[in-house]
Amino acid sequence: MPAPEPSQNASLFLCITFFPSERLANAVLRLVSSFCGMVLDDANVSSRFYMAAHELAENITKYSTGPKVSLELAMEEDESSYILKIRARNEASPERLREVERRLLELKTASDPVKHYDELINETAMIEGVSGLGLARVCAEGGLDVDYKIEGNELTIIAHAPVGRWRADEQLKG
Amino acid sequence: MPVSEPSRSGSLFLCITFYPTERMANSVLRLVSSFCSMVLDDANVCSRFYMAAHELAENIIKYSSGPKVSLELALEESESSCVMKICARNEASPERLREVERRLFELKTAIDPVKHYDELICETAMIEGVSGLGLARVRAEGGLDVDYKIEGNELTIIAHAPVGRWRVDEHLEG
């Protein structure tokens, strides 16, 4: 898996490529938690991004077929705002790629992410095993936009949002 | 800075590319510490590699002239042994590159790394400011072999050793 080259305007950047083991993922997530707390001074914004990074890291670790996975967090400045972007990358089996592409396409095109999440919750409530909720949660609960790319057997999931998105309305929405 | 592609034999692997700040370094080093204790079951071996990674991480942060630095740890298994490798990479100024190349060349070619370290200690004892001891320490105290590569303005320092090196003689050498 080629390591990603972050865009040149990334002012704060962290990329962790690691062997997909659960123990290592937990240690990686502690670093991600520090990063979020460090980069984002607002606990509410920070916890949204941490949740998203956590879900994505677990996702790529669980479904990896390759020897390494990568998680990348970057704060990018565009003209008017700061955007935090999380990129999660792994190699997965063709079945998994088909399945995740279906989910991601549904998610990306859902007009109401919260409704989509709630529907998934109801659909999967009595199904044992995998939760299948992680990605929808990133959108609905985290409020991040989700995108993805599949190249060969490599999947990249991108979650992003301007960090200012919730500052103003947090008091109203809780 | 292109992130390197680890060798195919890398069985356990962690690469952290990050924006070089001191606060970030602390979180990165906590992850490195977790990785070492996860991968290396011997506390003595673990502490040697942790020390080396710590010195290299601080080194690349202090002397970085670019927006990111990277620290890579890999446990590579071959038929007869397991080698732990730490690669630290940054972009540095031409002056710094000349200076560090001189030091690294001296260090790499020193026949007795402990004597070399002790000499550096005596030479720099009364000099205020930078310690200048970190790299020599990695080889003398850590017992790791040190190598380096300079390409353009990019410096890579590599410290490596078979993890079995100290298991047997630790009791003799202390």
């Binding site: 677990e58 919750i121 939760s131 299948g132 992680g134 609905a140 809780g174 | -």
Partner: protein, 125 residues
């Protein structure tokens, strides 16, 4: 009312501590609800469901104030537990006690409240 037949769970990074008070079963969750916690939590809920039936409790109260994170697999375990109770026709309320300073707790659990508004409630403290 007989005593509880469900054990506490203690792992490195996650804990579950049940207590019975009158007809309320209180369950205190602590630590990080991540990949490692999902399986213990899932099997815990199966035992807990049997206890809810055996003791005919009227409410299960989850105290998550000392919980640092809940991943979607753990959320899913909650969902299955709540649906399982509802499926058995039990009139048992589910209450979550959250720390109001930790905004993520309410944000995460709101989905459960939306799923079963008649059973689930969230109380910030």
């Amino acid at each position: 009312m007989s005593s509880l037949k469900v054990e506490s769970v203690v792992t490195d990074s996650f804990g579950i501590e049940p207590t019975l008070r009158d007809d309320t079963l209180s369950v205190k969750l602590t630590g990080t609800g991540d990949m490692a916690a999902a399986a213990p939590l899932g099997s815990y809920f199966r035992t807990l469901q049997a206890e809810v039936i055996r003791l005919s409790v009227s409410a299960v109260e989850f105290d998550v104030r000392a919980l640092y994170f809940l991943n979607s697999s753990c959320l899913k375990a909650f969902i299955s537990f709540i649906c399982g109770l509802a499926g058995q026709g039990l009139k048992c309320k589910i209450q979550f006690l959250t720390d109001a300073r930790l905004g993520w707790q309410r944000r995460s659990l709101t989905a459960l409240e939306r799923m079963s508004p008649e059973l689930v409630s969230i109380a910030d403290t």
